[in-house]
Amino acid sequence: MEKILEVKDLEVSFQTYGGEVKAVRGVSFDLYKGETLAIVGESGSGKSVTTQTIMKLIPMPPGKIANGQILFNGDDIVPKTEKQMEKIRGKEISMIFQDPMTSLNPTMRIGRQIMEVLIKHQNMSTSSATERAVELLRLVGIPMPEKRIKQYPHEFSGGMRQRAMIAIALAASPKLLIADEPTTALDVTIQAQILELMKDLQSKMDTSIIFITHDLGVVANVADRVAVMYGGQIVETGTVDEIFYDPRHPYTWGLLASMPSVDNDGGAELTAIPGTPPDLTNPPKGDAFAPRNQYAMAIDFEEEPPMFQISETHFAKTWLLHPDAPKVEPPAVVQKRIRKLSSTFDKPVLVKEEK
């Protein structure tokens, strides 16, 4: 499969009055053509910053890419100027934001906002852009698109606005679509429709999607692969089956256990992850998750764990996979989901740092 995006050892920090906030601390991942990668994690874990850096949407200063490469189609984005980025944004990479209420321009008709992309990136004439805008709105399932393009965002409902956003994002047939919590503000029924729509469009246009969310149910629905972020780092990554049926990192266990499942009879207490996310102004020494981790060992407070490889596609950053680590049992709720996957290695392999 063709790699469309390679992020290598990305570090992003922000200069604030309280000191330097290291929002992203060495993130690496690949994205293949036509696949969906879900990034999960709580607020402040760096998932939004990572993706905004890919589009270079973080304000610089105070933001700064301290280290790393972002290779898009083999081309490094990091040194690109604002002018060069304008050619990429909206055309090659586009983004759907969380809040459709605030990310559309309230003073511009919906049609105009779609046409803007077409006129700028595809040199279309106004008339053909209008036609294409109608087509796009129809594609995302908005009834009576001819009438709708003349309307303003306030005349659309939340779900309709999100559809319009998707239409804008897809207008120039981008190769990569970044969806930052696109359904969080929506109701379950509308959410299901939008997810269906995105999957449908993906299979038609062969776009790669990075899907940011904190809803594991949504992840299970859309993702091919999952990256779990905590404290500015990817702590576990693997295919969707590996993450849900054979999770290895205690934070992933915590996330899975803190969600009530519908067949849970409500008798058992939810296994909450105690404490609060780390303060990234001074990232803790060792494993950032250690203070909230009931499985933490002495070494977790001393030294940052390395990546261990569990299968061809499955990696986890925890000392628990070290051959000398004691064998621990994940929480009971997680144990219920665990099953043997054929692709798993006999033993976790330590990943050597590439120099």
Partner: protein, 311 residues
């Protein structure tokens, strides 16, 4: 659990009455809340679930209908003294922990506001002791009392909101989407806290949310709302195992589950209000299909559902 704490009779909350843009946010709903239980209220945004909660606690004056708290109507003309009595027994936890705490008040003052209004503390010292005790109950500590809301994270703020609600020792708490604004890992902490408080203090909750899996977890009974009407009301597990109203079915089929395999084979059903084909003048109302399981339906549907239920 047979004792009724709250009875809601044909509650209506209309906005812009008498003007062309009349909104029937809540349109004639009736249900009971028993002492010590948690009643979940779900539905999509704009279905009137929050308005229902706010009308019950009289943040809005109901257009019509009654809310009986221990047999007494909350609405209608009331003296300040009578209102105070209700306010002490009913409290509310709000959705947005950022907007619902006054940024210019210290945590101690926020929590003690109710204590002051109702004169529950005889001395300054007693007041502060009460505040410390409440902070501990919700998992915060003494030192937090002199701080301001902006110094806290979302989950901690929601705990302050809970402490404030508990300050006047209420019997009944309306929680309007108390966890929607919080992170997944923090949501479980707050829900566990609410469950524990319920056990310790025998509280009754009305839990309003759109996250159906969380509602199922915390609730004893669940009511489903659609366009200002209650369409189904049943014990939590019955509702999930055997949803009868087509809207409930579509809502349940839309919950994404954290299990890739079921997600791959999921079939969603969508709800079309036209499926009912109600004839003009047909009486549509809540009917008890089996014990404790109410569905909003017509007489014809009722017969059909009852037959279905036996199988």
């Amino acid at each position: 659990m047979a004792e009724k704490l709250i009875e809601i009779r044909n509650l209506k909350q209309h906005f812009n009455v008498g003007r062309p843009n009349l909104v029937k946010a809540v349109d004639g709903i009736s249900f009971d809340i028993y002492r010590g239980e948690t009643l979940g209220l779900v539905g999509e945004s704009g279905c009137g679930k929050s308005t229902t909660g706010r009308s019950i606690i009289r943040l809005y004056d109901a257009t019509d209908g009654e809310v009986l708290f221990e047999g007494e109507n909350v609405h209608g003309t009331k003296s300040t003294k009578e209102l105070k009595k209700f306010n002490r027994k009913m409290q509310m936890i709000f959705q947005d922990p950022y907007a619902s705490l006054n940024p210019r008040m210290t945590v101690a003052d926020i929590i003690a506001e109710g204590i002051d209004i109702h004169g529950l503390a005889n001395s300054k010292q007693e007041r502060m002791e009460r505040v410390y005790e409440l902070l501990e109950t919700v998992g915060l500590n003494k030192e937090h009392a002199s701080r301001y809301p902006h110094e806290f994270s979302g989950g901690q703020r929601q705990r302050i909101g809970i402490a404030r609600a508990l300050a006047v020792e209420p019997e009944f708490i309306i929680a309007d989407e108390p966890i929607s604004a919080l992170d997944v890992s923090i949501q479980a902490q707050v829900v566990n806290l609410m469950k524990q408080l319920q056990r310790d203090k025998g509280l009754t909750y009305l839990f309003i949310a759109h996250d159906l899996s969380m509602v199922k977890y915390i609730s004893d009974r669940i009511g489903v709302m659609y366009y200002g009407k209650l369409v189904e009301l049943a014990p939590a597990d019955v509702l999930y195992k055997n949803p009868l109203h087509p809207y409930t079915q579509s809502l349940l089929s839309a919950i994404p589950l954290p299990d890739p395999e079921t997600e791959r084979t999921r079939r969603r059903t969508s709800y079309d209000p036209d499926v009912h084909e109600y004839a003009d003048g047909e009486e549509v109302q809540m009917r008890e299909v089996s014990k404790g399981h109410f569905v909003y339906c017509s007489e014809k549907e009722f017969q059909k559902l009852q037959k279905q239920y036996k199988n």
